[in-house]
């Protein structure tokens, strides 16, 4: 399918919001660090403007400044103006701004679970918008809430009205947030990473819903995201932010075809292609990891409670050969992390066997297992929690080798070499984790795993928490290590693009079961299972090659 950028011409339309040279500084006194530097952008009636950038670029600050929600005692606007229609927001009192929130401008947030009050029925939470603006009687409010709930395509609105947030799915919760934001038909909707916490198929539905409602109501949308794929699907105009400045603004198609600024080019370059990389020659050596009919069932209940067995993983079989990468992809709750943790024996499998090299480790006791641990290592998702914050880098790196009898000075020597291998200076040894960025910590975690000279590394969403440019670097690091050391990698991810770039073979999981298993080329280019196809179709921007700045040719997608 060819990518269709939106091409509507907004020049004649009215400006809904105009931000002009907005500057924001940290602290309450003069001379704080400037976190927004002369940010200017306008959005017209019916236009979707995407604000893209990596973490810390100032995207969210911009939106909070518009809403008047910056924490008053920590951050202040120093100059510039924000006009909503013909109102200059920065000159208005807190009371006047409050009256505009929810009615003339509204906002939806990233995490629909935490953004809704857990102890209040969702219907009342929507109705509260009307109440806060003094609109309607109780029964009239209820009628309007049910009406907007139907508009956001919630099922069984009477029941959902009375539900609490925890009784709804992630997608339903985000629909509630959207209903709340749009019930008063505001001129401006700010969406701050509204789909980042959602699974890809849900994301597709929510993006569709926002576009649909925007068409119906003519809302101007400021859409904040880090995901270029999402941008390519929804943006009329794109503003690229970096370190508090907008470095490039352009209509979507022009930006994707002919990016001007180096940073924009670098960002687009780092977006992994959905098209699988060239297949590597078959590996014929015996597998280092052989998993057969693996299953994990959680039993709960018992006395006074219904006995419930939850099958987190069922009948998972695969082999991993030296120097190869096997990807396990799936949405949240698919069981992919359960498999990873079973293989690591961090949790105990209930069925099947796991063979590591020539040893069956499925039922080994913790003591017997310890001597085998060196052969299989893990890299976790969250770089901020995977290193002990109280211990120096050197302690983390030598802990494993010393457990296996390496003398301390040799272990330190190995740690020093490894740090260089993963691209960090050797003097990093004497530092603490908080002195490093997320990407650097992930490199250290990889060094810690490699220090054990393992046959297998399990990477559990190891690049999912990183910005795309850093993600790209870490993926290359893993690839280099695999080439040089012949390590096999079990790569757990929800991101098909990442899987396409690093995996030789791919397993697709859904509801704890394997639905498709094959080479990356087969699975990602000509999927056989309906679920795999749905996943691929839901991947935003799948028809576009971001690095090359052109459509992916038809023969390539079907090759």
């Amino acid at each position: 399918m060819a990518t269709r950028f939106k091409t509507q011409d907004f020049d004649p339309a009215d400006e809904v919001i105009a931000i002009d040279r907005l500057c924001v500084e940290l602290g309450t006194a003069e001379g704080g660090r400037r976190v927004l530097d002369e940010v200017s952008l306008t959005i017209r009636l019916g236009e979707t403007a995407c604000l893209v950038g990596e973490s810390g670029s100032g995207k969210s600050l911009t939106s909070l400044a518009v809403m008047g929600l910056l924490p008053a005692n920590a951050i202040r606007v120093t100059s510039g103006s924000i006009r909503l229609g013909d109102t200059d927001l920065l000159t208005r009192s807190a009371r006047e701004i409050r009256a505009m929130r929810g009615s003339r401008m509204s906002m939806i947030f990233q995490e629909p679970m935490t953004a809704l009050n857990p102890v209040m029925r969702v219907g009342h939470q929507i109705a509260e918008v009307l109440e806060a603006h003094g609109i309607g009687s109780t029964s009239e409010r209820r009628r309007r809430v049910l009406d907007i709930m139907a508009q956001v395509h919630l099922p069984d609105v009477e029941r959902v009205y009375r539900s609490y947030p925890h009784q709804l799915s992630g997608g339903q919760r985000q629909r509630i947030m959207i209903a709340m934001a749009l019930i008063l038909e505001p001129a401006l909707l700010i969406a701050d990473e509204p789909t980042t916490a959602l699974d890809v198929t849900t994301q597709q539905q929510i993006l569709g819903l926002i576009s649909e409602l925007q068409r119906v109501h003519g809302t101007a949308v400021l859409f904040i995201t880090h995901d270029m794929g999402v941008v390519s699907e929804i943006a009329d105009t794109v503003h690229v932010m970096r370190q508090g400045r907008i470095v490039e603004s352009a209509p979507a198609e022009r930006l994707f075809r002919t990016p001007q600024h180096d940073y924009t080019k670098a960002l687009l370059d780092a977006v992994p292609s959905l098209h699988p990389r060239q297949p590597r020659p078959q590996e014929t050596r015996p597998p280092v990891l052989d998993v057969e009919s693996l299953g994990k069932t959680y039993e709960s209940g018992g006395f006074l409670k219904k006995h419930v067995a939850k099958r987190a993983a069922e009948d998972v079989t695969f082999q991993l050969r030296p120097g190869r990468t096997l990807g396990i992809v799936g949405e949240s709750g698919s069981g992919k992390s359960t498999v990873a943790r079973c293989v690591m024996r961090l949790i105990d499998p209930t069925d099947g066997t796991i063979r590591l090299g020539d040893a069956d480790i499925t039922r080994l006791s913790p003591g017997q297992l310890r001597s085998r641990r060196a052969k299989i290592q893990i890299v976790f998702q969250d770089p901020y929690r995977s290193l002990n914050p109280r211990r120096k880098i050197v302690s983390s790196l030598i802990e494993g080798p010393i457990n296996f009898g390496l003398p301390r000075n040799q272990a330190i020597e190995r740690a020093r070499t490894l740090l260089e291998t993963v691209g960090l200076p050797a003097d990093a040894l004497d530092c603490y984790p908080h002195q490093f960025s997320g990407g650097q910590r992930q490199r250290i975690a990889i060094a810690r795993a490699v220090a054990m000279e393992p046959d297998v590394i399990v990477a559990d969403e190891a690049v999912s928490a990183l910005d795309v440019s850093v993600q790209d670097q870490v993926l290359h690091l893993l690839e280099d290590l695999q080439r040089d050391l012949g390590i096999a990698i079990l790569f757990i991810t929800h991101d098909l693009r990442v899987a396409a770039q690093i995996c030789d073979d791919v397993i697709v999981m859904q509801h704890g079961k394997v639905v498709e298993h094959g080479t990356a080329g087969d699975v990602l280019v000509s999927p056989r299972h309906a679920y795999t196809r749905a996943l691929i179709e839901a991947a935003p921007g799948r028809g576009w090659d971001f690095a090359a700045g052109r459509e992916i040719a038809r023969e390539e997608t079907n090759a």
Binding site: S371, A374, D382, F404, H434, F436, S437, Q440, S469
Partner: protein, 294 residues
């Protein structure tokens, strides 16, 4: 390639040990509290240097004297100098506070680590702790002291019993959340033995909260000692403590309220400073503050 240069400056020793954010600011009140506490500790520890009189020498001629140059805080019903008794009394009260805090924290840490890490022991330990929590602390102490007789050590023991469960709960909850941390699972994967993981990766997390808890236990123990003495179950008055000085003053309260108010004031200021220091430490360690710094 901003990725390869290091982000921030190294943190200091104690701050790092406690997991404090760099540049944590402390207001003026905690410093006043610290000065006050140090002052109280110094004058009680060196009571012999500062006391105008022997705290236990009876002097029937000087019964219930008002404040004067000779007896700055007056005298009690036996003619003993109240100021000297308050200074010496601090020794016992502070000893009980510090010893209770130390024993409760060490015992609670050990039991809490076991409960947090061994599922089998956990259920039993926590039921026993629930039971100890259910017995009001003063009643438990009263019963223990009534049976074992009142001495400094039995009072310490009696108070410790009701403080241990709170420490255990604290340590256990920290261990339970820390053992889910990826760095602990990484250590398991590196083949580190369980006792080493417990000591190296889990125990340090409990350190800072335990310091805070210790201050509260110390404060509470000083108060409970006072209550025990006041009820007539504390240490005998030949060894003055803030509690038994006030207990002695009960009978003459309507006649001479200062017999209760002076020791009460000193005790309250002491406990207040300890509590303020505990609050300060807790605020500095609050994860919300750390989030704000990040």
């Amino acid at each position: 390639m901003a990725d390869v240069s290091r982000a921030t400056t190294p943190g200091g020793g104690i701050a790092r040990l406690l997991g404090l954010p760099p540049g944590t600011r402390i207001g003026v009140v905690p410093w006043i509290a610290l000065a006050m506490l140090l002052f109280i500790v110094l004058v009680t520890v060196f009571a012999p240097l500062f006391s105008p009189h022997d705290p236990i020498a009876l002097s029937p001629l000087n019964r219930l004297k008002p404040s004067s140059a000779e007896f700055p805080l007056g005298t009690d019903a036996y003619g003993r100098d109240v100021l000297s008794r308050v200074l010496y009394g601090g020794q016992v009260s502070l000893l009980i506070g510090v010893a209770t805090a130390a024993i409760a924290v060490v015992a609670g840490l050990a039991i809490g680590l076991v409960a947090g890490f061994f599922r089998l022991a956990d259920a039993l330990i926590m039921r026993v702790m629930d039971a100890f929590m259910a017995i009001p602390p003063v009643l438990l102490a009263v019963a223990l002291v009534a049976i074992h007789g009142a001495s400094v050590s039995s009072v310490i023991l009696a108070i410790t019993f009701s403080e241990i469960p709170r420490v255990v709960r604290l340590v256990r909850s920290i261990v339970l959340s820390a053992r889910e941390e990826p760095y602990v699972e990484a250590a398991i994967s590196l083949g580190t033995r369980m006792p080493v993981i417990l000591w190296r990766h889990l125990m340090p997390n409990t350190l800072a909260p335990l310091i805070v808890q210790a201050t509260y236990i110390c404060a509470s123990a000083i108060l409970i000692e006072a209550i025990l003495s006041f009820l007539g179950l504390g240490i005998g008055t030949e060894t003055p403590s803030w509690g038994n000085i006030m207990a002695d003053g009960r009978t003459y309260f309507m006649l001479k309220p200062s017999l209760i108010f002076w020791p009460g004031l000193v005790l309250s200021l002491c406990v207040l400073s300890i509590n303020i220091l505990g609050d300060t430490a807790r605020d500095m360690l609050d994860p919300r503050m750390r989030k704000r710094e990040a």
